[in-house]
């Protein structure tokens, strides 16, 4: 979380920095700030979002600078705690993404030596340490300081009168952009795309010195070479292009995303590691966890092997079963907990497979093999198209492991999504938007979808929503049902239909307003629901994809109707890169 961005070139740095930070805003938007190096260091920082304006850039001279957009971990979001942070004389500026775990000890030690601190952040120890180590060579100073830092960091440093910007990383993402006459550094590629499509991914422990002459990367004592990679995302993909919100844009991209992911995976060879596996453990967080949970039903039914699904943040407290393939799922490929889980699996000699959306991200370098989703850049904090892309990867995996059992359904999956996009959900939105609390219920593979629907609803509309397995509702939550708590029930045709149908009738009997998603043509079902949303025809795969899309749209339209900030919900950030 937090986004950092640096520029070193020939143009005026300040406006470029602010524009770049705008692209990173989804990583955090509590405050932002920039520091531009000229004869001295000029700093501008501000609480709140960049898009709200407030930055006065006029008169900031200098062609090299660093910027930061913050998701608060240490210290409340205010102007003082905003990055960049400076050393005592104000000659060295630092932006930092990550957490310095031993900052308290370092801070006490520095204060004893007479350094004055202006903020409550962990980051501020870094400029003061640099102040002591700096003797004209900034890169050398950084190399001297980083062994003292425990925790995770991606750092950018500039110093007054110094022609270089120094970048360093450990367990936090950092990418360098190689432009025509400019070099850039950022937490991810989105702000770089505007300048160049050639990037260099830094490895843990790298210290890069970036100047207008070029980039020198050192690891310990030695100079190292890192390959220049080409990014195939286009700038248009990271723009809203006429949609009012990124989230809506991304929901409408889903048919394309699904078929693109299926198509590219189909052309790839099945990785060797999938042959003869005895069991699978899927590790993920948040939305990816729900996709994994859903996949479990399909793996066990079609492939005849046991599948375990674990929250990445809890995985480290479990013991690993022998021989399992461990699959880590992370859209950004930088989710700290998922990375730690993959690392743990590697340490125990398990084969590891990564599923991610970002080429060259950290998870791809940790895992033995990577399957890519083709979702393109996802900017909205609430994950939508990446969920669909994860499902596509999972469906593909199940198809390969089961010898082609899902194949016929995969080719037409995008049609089901397209059909769901045409639904008018306004009656359902009206029913939900007045609620303070609501439930999402489903059975079988639709239980994880109920969880996902509830997650989408709470994260962007701020309505308290809970996802439940329909059978569990009677074991407690039933007490909460009332005419004020709408229930969204997923009731597609299938083996769970009869049980689900009677659950719906039971809930209805308590006066609960029911929004039911099911196949059209069943009069009894339509009569028992207050709002009925029909699913398109087709089998399980189509129903899963269409239900997902409907739940996303329901959350989206409810949030819009309530006037919420859909793309940047309060307190959240896109990729959770701290534990």
């Amino acid at each position: 979380m937090c986004g950092i961005f640096g520029y070193c070139g020939r143009r005026k740095a300040a406006p470029i920095l602010v524009e770049g930070l705008r692209h990173l805003e989804y990583r955090g938007y509590d405050s932002f700030g920039i520091a531009v190096a000229n004869d001295g260091i000029t700093v501008q920082k501000k609480q709140g979002k960049i898009s709200l304006g407030g930055a006065d850039l006029s008169g900031i001279k200098g062609t090299m600078g660093i910027g930061h957009t913050r998701w608060a971990t240490h210290g409340v979001p205010n102007d003082q705690n905003a990055h960049p942070h400076l050393d005592c004389p104000g000659k060295i500026a630092v932006v930092h993404n990550g957490i310095i775990e031993n900052y308290a000890a370092l801070k006490r030690e520095l204060q004893d030596r007479g350094h004055t601190f202006c903020s409550e952040t962990d980051t501020e120890v870094i400029p003061h340490l640099l102040e002591e180590a700096f003797q004209g060579d900034l890169a050398a100073a950084v190399e001297k300081v980083i062994p003292r830092l425990e925790g995770s960091y991606a750092l950018l440093v500039v110093a007054a009168g110094c022609p270089e910007m120094v970048a360093a990383r450990k367990r936090s993402p950092l990418v360098l952009g190689v432009g025509d006459r400019a070099f850039l550094a950022a937490s991810d590629v989105t702000p770089i795309l505007e300048h160049t499509e050639r990037v260099v991914y830094l490895e843990d422990g790298d210290v890069a010195s970036v100047s207008t002459k070029g980039i020198v990367i050192r690891q310990g004592e030695a100079n190292v070479e890192r390959p220049v990679q080409r990014i195939d995302w286009s700038l248009a993909e990271v723009k809203k292009g006429g949609f009012p919100h990124y989230m809506q844009k991304e929901i409408y991209e889903q048919p394309e995303v699904f078929s693109a992911t299926i198509r590219t995976l189909r052309d790839e060879e099945t990785p060797r590691m999938l042959e003869g596996i005895q069991g699978v453990t899927l590790v993920a967080c948040g939305t990816s966890y729900h996709a994994a949970l859903l996949c479990r039903y399909l793996i066990e039914e079609h492939c005849g092997i046991p599948a375990r699904v674990e929250l990445a943040s809890e995985f480290k407290y479990y013991t690993l079963p022998g021989g399992d393939l461990v699959v880590g799922v992370s859209q950004s490929g930088e989710t700290a907990d998922t990375l730690a889980a993959i690392e743990k699996a590697r340490m125990h000699n398990h084969p590891t497979l990564a599923i991610t959306n970002v080429l060259g991200s950290t998870i791809t370098r940790l895992a033995d093999h990577t399957l890519y989703m083709r979702a393109g850049p996802e900017i909205s904090v609430a994950a939508t198209k990446s969920f669909i892309a994860e499902l596509a990867v999972f469906f593909h995996l199940v198809d390969r492991l089961s010898g082609g059992k899902l194949e016929p359904a995969l080719g037409s999956g995008h049609l089901a999504i397209g059909e769901a996009l045409l639904q008018d959900l306004s009656p359902a939105v009206e029913l939900c938007m007045g609620a303070r609390s609501m439930f999402f219920v489903g059975r079988g593979p639709f239980y994880p979808l109920a969880l996902e629907g509830a997650l989408k609803m709470k994260e962007i509309s701020y309505i308290h929503a809970e996802g439940y397995a329909a059978g569990e509702i009677k074991h407690g939550p039933f007490a909460l049902l009332s005419p004020e708590t709408p229930v969204v029930a997923l009731c597609p045709p299938g083996p769970a239909f009869p049980a689900m149908f009677s659950n719906i009738k039971e809930m209805k009997a308590r006066g609960t307003p029911m929004v039911v998603i099911g196949a059209g043509g069943n009069q009894e079902l339509e009569e028992v629901s207050d709002v009925f949303i029909p699913l398109p025809g087709g089998g399980l795969v189509s129903h899963i994809l269409a239900s997902t899309t409907l739940l996303q749209l329901l959350a989206y339209h409810t949030a819009v109707a309530l006037g919420r900030d859909v793309d940047q919900p309060r307190n959240l950030a896109k990729s959770v890169t701290v534990e």
Binding site: A236, G241, G242, K249, S259, R263, S412, L415, L422
Partner: protein
């Protein structure tokens, strides 16, 4: 110079084809009509393009985002009329500008004729003027404009393409553009009538076939797919990426085939066929003068001629279409068409179904052996046994 493309209207007379997209997005020669309009503007060096969207706006915006050229999007929340749509772009218009319907074909030579003329309209002679705004001219200037008259005063019609000054906005009182143009002329302003070089509208669904015939040849030939060595390909043929053409298949251009299709073996694709993406055409089937949209499947031994088929339609074996000239009722008016079939999206037809000049609604399911004739209306979601 700026151009405002009006792409907000549904195009109701093209139903059932407009269920998931407005008329401007209906593919002809495998590209939405609005793409040809944008191309023509770009060819004339007009890069500042504003598109007014409304009906199914998300689909239009999504499509516009996939184009190379960035366009500005304005939303018309309620589709009240063409002048109301134009009014939505008022704040973006800076100087003299063009207005174009996004759902008619226009070529760049026509736009070049009007680009540098102050206050002008592109006009065209048409054998059935009553469907359009009919224009009366005198010495090259418009003296009168009447929208869809029962009795047309001339055979000259307005193409809906205008070159205007920002002061035109003050004449918009009603929701229709023709009324505003009428008020503009009555106030004593001059509006020059410039004859268009090439322009075409599709008023009724079967008109799409003529437009298709005109536009397929504009698709540059390409063979990106996998073509069997024993197939015969003649004339101008474009085959998309990842498509497979099986053995002994004949393709006689002009034909366009989208990406990811599977054609044949032993299929016959005759001239003026547009085949969308991921379409499957099984052995011994003939397709001619037809628009087949994305994700369709046509069974073996079928004969599909003079037909427009929406997305995701599934026709089983031995299905045929027979060209007839039925009298249709469309949006309350009686009109004679000439075509085989117009099928809405996701129609499913069983084996040995025969279509005789029929328009079939979206998602209609047809049992095997049915004879589908023009005399019955086949509403959306219906069932025919």
């Amino acid at each position: 110079m700026q151009a405002v493309i009006l792409a907000a209207g549904e195009g109701r007379r093209l139903r059932p084809l407009t269920r998931s997209r407005p008329k401007a997005l209906i593919p002809v020669g495998n590209r939405p009509v609005v793409d040809y309009v944008i191309d023509a503007l770009l060819a004339c060096g007009i890069r500042e393009i504003i598109v007014v969207v409304g009906y199914r706006k998300e689909q239009v915006i999504r499509h516009l985002n996939t184009l190379d050229e960035q366009v500005e999007v304005v939303v018309q929340e309620k589709q009240l009329g063409t002048a109301h749509a134009l009014l939505q772009a008022k704040d973006l218009v800076k100087g003299r500008f063009l207005v174009l319907p996004g759902d008619n074909f226009i070529n760049s030579a026509s736009i070049a004729r009007i680009r540098d003329v102050k206050n002008a309209v592109l006009v065209k002679e048409h054998p059935y003027p009553s469907n359009f705004g009919v224009v009366v001219t005198k010495r090259g200037f418009v003296t009168r404009i009447v929208e869809k008259p029962a009795l047309a005063p001339s055979f000259t019609i307005s193409t809906g393409i205008f070159s205007l000054e920002p002061d035109f906005f003050s004449f918009i009182r009603e929701n229709d553009l023709t009324d505003a143009v009428g008020a503009f002329i009555e106030s004593g302003k001059k509006l020059r009538a410039v004859p268009a070089d090439d322009w075409q509208d599709a008023v009724y669904p079967w008109d799409l076939l003529q437009m298709n015939q005109k536009l397929i040849p504009s698709a540059p030939p390409e063979k990106a797919g996998e073509v069997s060595g024993t197939s015969v390909i003649q004339g101008q043929v474009r085959i998309g990426k990842g498509s497979r053409v099986g053995p002994a298949t004949c393709i006689f251009g002009p034909v366009v085939i989208g990406p990811g299709c599977e054609i044949g073996p032993h299929a016959c694709i005759m001239p003026f066929s547009s085949i969308g993406a991921r379409v499957r055409i099984e052995p011994f089937t003939v397709v001619e003068n037809t628009i087949l949209m994305d994700d369709c499947e046509v069974g073996s031994h079928s004969r599909i001629k003079d037909t427009v088929i929406g997305e995701g339609v599934h026709l089983e074996d031995h299905v045929s279409t027979v060209i007839t000239a039925p009298l249709m009722e469309i949006q309350g008016e009686q009109i004679k068409g000439r075509f085989g079939a117009i099928l809405g999206e996701k129609v499913r037809a069983g084996p040995f179904t025969t279509f005789e000049g029929a328009i079939v609604g979206n998602s209609v399911r047809i049992g095997g052996g049915s004879r589908i004739r023009s005399t019955t209306a086949y509403e959306d979601g219906g069932l025919v046994v």
